[in-house]
């Protein structure tokens, strides 16, 4: 378990970076990159924890990561499509301009 600490710390840092990026950036593409960072953090978490038992690599963790990578790719693809449409509609990549879903 001690060996995993660096990995778990990096996961946590990546989470922070990703969330912070989503909170603070106003460019939609940059937010997608932040989202991607969050995905990578999650994947790294699974990989790290699959090594939690000494001398044994849990195949479940590794397989989940394989599937997740595929799904992440699809999500980003869809996200890019949405960003493209939003840009066509609003003429800007600034996410703060999209605020019609408000009170």
């Amino acid at each position: 378990m001690n060996a995993l600490i660096p990995y778990l710390v990096s996961v946590f840092l990546l989470l922070l970076i990703g969330l912070g990026c989503l909170m603070m950036k106003r460019d939609m593409i940059r937010m997608l990159i932040g989202l991607e960072i969050l995905f990578n953090a999650a994947n790294l978490n699974f990989v790290a924890l699959s090594l939690s038992r000494a001398g044994f690599v849990d195949p479940l963790g590794q397989s989940i990561v394989m599937m997740a990578i595929v799904l992440d790719g699809c999500v980003i693809a869809v996200g890019l499509a949405m960003v493209l449409n939003a840009y066509k509609h609003y003429g800007t990549l600034d996410v703060r301009k999209l605020r019609r879903l408000r009170w």
Partner: protein
């Protein structure tokens, strides 16, 4: 028990059932035509007379049925049931006969007086229902049935006072301006509310008694009196409270101070109504109830020594005497004829209450007190009804309620004049008419009581007697003697003022004849005591009290009648001289007399404004109440409760909503911030729950 009771003793039951049935049938009979309807009303009233007359043999023989029960009205799970029953004993037989006989005469009078009125069906309905309720009141054997009759007569009184509910100007009374004038519908309401106040006090007392005695029945209450009286007296002050509450009903119904202000306004009703309800019968209901209950408190105080029981007698004696004085003083300055008679009624009932009150102030005074109270009730009913009916004839002829619009009517209405004069002399207590004997009996019973209080009240009663003669002479002379007023002369020019028809003066003549007969019997009774009406009544009541097992002292020192007779004579002289000087001979002008000194003017205005009691009541209970409720409605109900709850609470929530909704900015970054914060909160909670950090 059971319905065969009605066939065994038909008189008492039919006496009140027939008039009530007649009342309910009136709308149907009216369809058969006016004359049929009027004849039917007279027949129903006559049937009541026959029923009550059928009870007189019991009175004479001394074998009366007592308590006769019909059926169970309400069955209580753990107490004896409340039954429908009648108490037929000398007291109720005497008063029932007075009621039904006078009611019959007045019904006949009404046929003439109210002839042509379009709403006569409604009149007969209330009138007959009144007769039935009054007889029920007098004959019932328990408090609750008495209350049914009591409130029934109150309702009929309301309906009949407010008979002219359209409030046409000619039916208003009061004034002349600037004194306020009141419409009939207002007067009816006033009567119902004021007597209603007295009624609830009576109710309160009945419930207190019921709690301790477990029964509403009068005979059972008398029998068990020592037991429940001492149970009530165990709580200090409770028996006095009960006695005062109990008196509240009679004080209200019989228009005694402080609930006397409804009777003058009740004159808004048609005159036969005033004669029957407000002179002869309904206002006597209170006297009847006090008489019915006095044996109980007598036993309580004189036989079992319960100290608080005397409050009953002290209170009613003082109130009676004071009211007599109060009302007589107001009658001296009244300008409306019927108002003068109304004040006179209040005053005379004060005498009756005084008599019943002193009945308990001395150990030997119960029988004399009861006798004089009942005798004066009978005597007063006769002459006061006669007075009102005559007043009705005069008012009808002159088309005005004010005495200053009359004057010199002796010329055109000789019969009415004689009849009214006889009745007025009886009212004043001029020998040898019935009023003299009954008033003398009241004075005598004060002497029987013998206590200092009784003597003091006797003085008050005597002064009142002087005032009575004064105001009687006043209203007789203002109406019949002297110069006719402008109003009368005008009327005489337009259409001759004429005497009332026989259908109206024959009943009055019958009443006056009875007044004279009783007076003569009283005179004969000086030499042959068994014929004296007072002696007869005393004998019957003595029998009744004996049957109730009330221990009367065997030897009572009879005070000398010379004292009371000389007192009466002195008072008659006093009042007579004053009345003669002011009104008969017109030696002194009353107006100048009053204006001559500021003190007299002050007294005059004090009396004219009804000792300022009526204005005070209006200020507190009418104006004050109306202002109070408006103030509460405006400042509390609308401003605080309504706005606070119906508008305030929603406003709080909408205010909250308006603030919270601003969190939904629509900006993605803020949403992410909220997510981040939620994560942190979740993390911290988990860590706390897991017991770490």
């Amino acid at each position: 028990m059971g319905l065969e009771v009605i066939s065994t003793y038909p008189g008492p039951w039919l006496a009140w059932m027939i008039p009530m049935a007649g009342a309910l049938l009136m709308p149907l009979l009216a369809k058969a035509g006016d004359r049929v309807r009027d004849l039917a009303a007279v027949l129903f009233a006559f049937a009541a007379v026959l029923s009550t007359f059928s009870m007189i043999p019991w009175l004479i023989s001394g074998e009366y049925p007592g308590d006769i029960k019909l059926l169970t009205w309400i069955a209580f799970p753990d107490k004896p049931p409340l039954e429908v029953g009648l108490l037929v004993d000398p007291l109720s037989i005497i008063i029932a006969n007075v009621v039904s006989f006078i009611a019959f005469l007045i019904v006949v009078y009404s046929v003439g007086y109210m002839h042509g009125d379009p709403c006569l069906t409604r009149y007969w309905f209330f009138f007959l229902f009144f007769i039935g309720s009054m007889l029920l009141l007098v004959l019932s054997d328990n408090f609750i049935m008495l209350l049914v009759g009591w409130e029934g007569v109150g309702m009929c009184s309301w309906g009949l006072i407010g008979f002219y509910y359209r409030d046409e100007k000619e039916n208003w009374l009061g004034g002349p301006p600037p004194t306020p004038m009141y419409p009939p519908s207002h007067c009816g309401m006033k009567a119902f509310v004021v007597t209603g106040f007295g009624d609830v006090l009576l109710l309160a007392a009945i419930f207190i008694i019921y709690h301790y005695a477990g029964t509403f029945n009068f005979l059972e209450l008398i029998e068990a009196a020592p037991h429940w009286l001492s149970a009530i007296a165990a709580t200090p002050g409770l028996l006095s409270l009960t006695a005062l509450l109990l008196l509240g009903g009679p004080i209200g119904k019989s228009a005694q101070f402080p609930l006397h202000e409804w009777l003058p306004e009740a004159m808004a009703g048609p005159t036969p109504v005033s004669a029957l309800i407000h002179a002869a019968t309904m206002v006597k209901a209170g006297v009847y109830l006090v008489a019915r209950l006095s044996p109980i408190f007598y036993i309580g105080y004189w036989v079992h020594g319960i100290a608080e029981a005397i409050t009953f007698f002290t209170a009613i004696a003082v109130i009676g005497a004071f009211t007599a004085f109060l009302a007589a003083s107001q009658a001296m300055v009244a300008l409306e004829l019927k108002k003068a008679l109304a004040y006179s009624t209040i005053s005379q009932i004060g005498y009756m209450m005084l008599a019943l009150g002193v009945a308990g102030l001395g150990e030997g005074a119960l029988l004399p007190g009861l006798t004089s109270g009942v005798f004066h009730l009978l005597s007063h009913a006769l002459f006061k009804a006669a007075l009102f009916l005559c007043a009705g004839c005069a008012i009808h002829a002159v088309e005005s309620i004010y005495m200053f619009d009359m004057g010199g009517l002796r010329r055109w209405m000789p019969i009415t004049h004689i009849l009214m004069l006889i009745a007025a002399l009886s009212l004043s207590g001029v020998p040898p008419l019935s009023g003299f004997w009954s008033k003398d009996a009241v004075f005598l019973s004060c002497l029987y009581a013998g206590s200092p209080l009784a003597y003091a009240l006797l003085i008050v009663a005597a002064i009142t007697a002087a005032m009575t003669f004064f105001y009687s002479l006043r209203f007789i002379s203002l109406t019949f003697y002297g110069e006719p007023s402008h109003h009368v002369e005008e009327l005489e020019r337009e259409h001759h003022i004429h005497e009332a028809g026989p259908i109206m003066w024959v009943p009055i003549a019958i009443l006056d004849a009875l007044v004279i007969v009783i007076g003569l019997l009283g005179l004969i009774g000086l030499v042959a005591p068994s014929l004296s009406p007072e002696h007869i009544i005393e004998g019957k009541l003595h029998l009744m009290l004996h049957e109730m097992e009330i221990p009367l002292p065997s030897h009572v020192a009879a005070p000398s009648p010379i004292g009371t007779i000389s007192l009466s004579a002195a008072m008659l002289l006093l009042g007579g001289v004053a009345g003669y000087l002011f009104y008969l001979a017109r030696r002194i002008d009353p107006k100048e007399f009053v204006e001559s000194s500021p003190i007299l003017r002050g007294i005059y205005s004090f009396l004219w404004n009804r000792w300022y009691i009526n204005p005070l009541y209006y200020a507190i209970f009418v104006d004050g109440l109306l202002a109070f409720k408006d103030a509460i409605f405006k400042f509390f109900e609308s401003a605080v409760v309504d706005r606070g709850l119906n508008e305030g609470v929603p406003a709080v929530f909408t205010g909250l909503y308006h603030r919270v909704k601003r969190l939904q900015t629509g900006v993605l970054s803020y949403n992410m911030l909220y997510i981040a914060l939620a994560y942190i909160a979740l993390l911290l909670t988990l860590l706390y729950l897991m017991g770490g950090v």
